[in-house]
């Protein structure tokens, strides 16, 4: 999976890395059981501090997207979503949708965008299978 981190963005680098990996899991480029490079290896490939990568991996582990094991390193293995997750995610989705509505994006367009993004994940997932 090709990951680009935008250094001039306001989003912290570890957050960007975490987001890209979650997207990779959703669209099937990082299938269940796929191992991620070690923190040092990935940091060297980017040329960034390995603490940054560590922070992203920690976040992914805490949020239940990867399993970290002393022997095999970080492995993609999302845990099933539970009530807590859905509640938290709904809050964040609410903020995201509010941004569009506040800016006057028509509801139909917001829905169409959501559908297109979901369809994109499905399609890529099928291709990689």
């Amino acid at each position: 999976m090709i990951i680009s981190l935008d250094l001039s963005s306001e989003v912290p680098i570890y957050q960007q890395l975490r987001d890209r990996i979650v997207e990779g899991i959703a669209d099937g480029t990082l299938p269940d059981g796929e191992s991620l490079p070690s923190t040092r290896q990935l940091a060297a490939d980017f040329g960034i501090n390995f603490h940054t990568v560590n922070k992203a991996y920690d976040l992914l582990r805490q949020q239940g997207f990867v399993r970290v094991n002393r022997k095999t390193g970080a492995v993609v293995g999302p845990t099933e979503s539970d009530e807590g997750f859905v509640a938290d995610w709904t809050t964040r989705a609410r903020t995201l949708l509010a941004e569009a509505v506040a800016k006057g994006v028509p509801a139909a367009e917001v829905l169409a965008t959501c559908q297109a993004v979901l369809a994109g994940f499905d399609k890529q997932g099928d291709e990689s299978k």
């Binding site: 940091a43 060297a44 490939d45």
Partner: protein
């Protein structure tokens, strides 16, 4: 001997000048004379002007060094042949540094990176599925070394004791060594050692760092994979050709009647072909057709990590090696203490081994 010296001097100087001439093609697309430039500035008038100046000056200095080198070798003998080589490297670096300063100044004055989104890119598949080292190709150099060893074993009983190990230009022996496995198989050991070294480098290169261009990541990763596959095979072919050349030396030593005029081309010929092969592989690297991919991101401006455009120092980067900016290859990250100590220690160990080896073989 002086004729050989003059020819060796001219070939070496010409090869170095050619490599220096290729400086702009040896580095990554967005690194011009050691300066990181945005994708759309790769063909900026300043870059073009500096490339033209660099090449003109190189030709002039190259001509002067070539001619004065011939005079030097004729007047003072072949021992001074490394002097023009050193002079060529100094001129190469001097002109490179001048161009580096000029482009850096233009980049700063015109603020080339203004408004660009700088990014870093990596491909995780280069780790989960790294380019494969062509192990099967190893059979080629191994077979040649094995053949050399077998010929040596067959010839061993008939070899004289002491064994002539050095010959003058007329093929008359002028140095002898007691016959032993060490003296008879010296060159075979060198063959085996060089094969292991070159193939080891080839295998390391497969795991080496990739400089993925954030502006066109997919095509850049594809180009990297193709290049590494070619380079791995190139290193093995180079090892095989060196072994072949040294087999000629083996044969000359074991047959006891070396002919300098046939031995020299037989030994150096394959080695030069190998060097040419590697140069072709490296030069073709950046001649990929323009891909139409463009993500809107730009490589990060990392010039401050490069001292004089040659030494890489970045304490934040855990990498041990990064692609060089001057010449071709990889250079150690001196900002990484572990990498630096390992490399300096390793170099010292190899030097010590090289100095002590003749004592053991005696």
């Amino acid at each position: 001997m002086t004729t050989t010296g003059v020819v060796a001097h001219l070939v070496l100087t010409a090869l170095l000048l050619y490599l220096a001439w290729l400086t702009p093609s040896l580095s990554a697309r967005t690194v011009r004379f050691g300066v990181r430039v945005p994708d759309e500035r790769v063909d900026d008038p300043v870059v073009q002007r500096e490339t033209a100046r660099f090449r003109t000056a190189l030709l002039i200095f190259g001509g002067i060094i070539g001619l004065s080198g011939v005079g030097l070798v004729l007047a003072a003998g072949v021992a001074l042949a490394p002097a023009p080589v050193l002079a060529t490297i100094l001129v190469w670096y001097g002109l490179y540094f001048r161009a580096n300063r000029a482009i850096t100044a233009a980049k700063r004055d015109q603020d080339w990176f203004a408004g660009l989104r700088q990014a870093v890119t990596a491909d995780t598949t280069l780790r989960s599925d790294p380019p494969k080292f062509p192990w099967l190709w190893l059979l080629l150099p191994v077979a040649i070394v094995a053949a050399s060893a077998v010929i040596g074993i067959i010839r061993y009983p008939d070899l004289p004791d002491p064994l002539p190990v050095h010959f003058d230009a007329n093929g008359v022996a002028n140095r002898w060594a007691p016959k032993s496995v060490g003296s008879v198989f010296t060159v075979v050991f060198i063959q085996a050692g060089l094969t292991a070294l070159l193939c080891g480098i080839g295998a390391l290169v497969c795991r080496g760092p990739a400089d993925v261009d954030p502006a066109r990541p997919a095509s850049s990763v594809r180009a990297h994979r193709e290049f590494i596959a070619r380079l791995g095979r190139g290193f093995i072919a180079f090892a095989a050709l060196i072994d072949l050349g040294l087999l000629a030396t083996d044969w000359a030593m074991w047959s006891g009647a070396p002919q300098a005029e046939t031995l020299l081309p037989l030994t150096l010929g394959p080695i030069l072909v190998g060097v040419a092969l590697l140069v072709i592989i490296i030069v073709q690297r950046n001649r990929e057709p323009e891909p139409d991919e463009h993500t809107g991101l730009s490589h990060r401006d990392d010039d401050k990590n490069w001292i004089g455009g040659v030494i890489y120092r970045n304490a934040n980067d855990p990498s041990w090696f990064v692609q060089r900016r001057f010449g071709f290859g990889w250079t150690v990250n001196v900002g990484n203490p572990v990498a630096l100590v390992t490399c300096v220690g390793g170099t010292l160990a190899i030097l010590a081994f090289g100095l002590l080896l003749p004592l053991f073989l005696r």
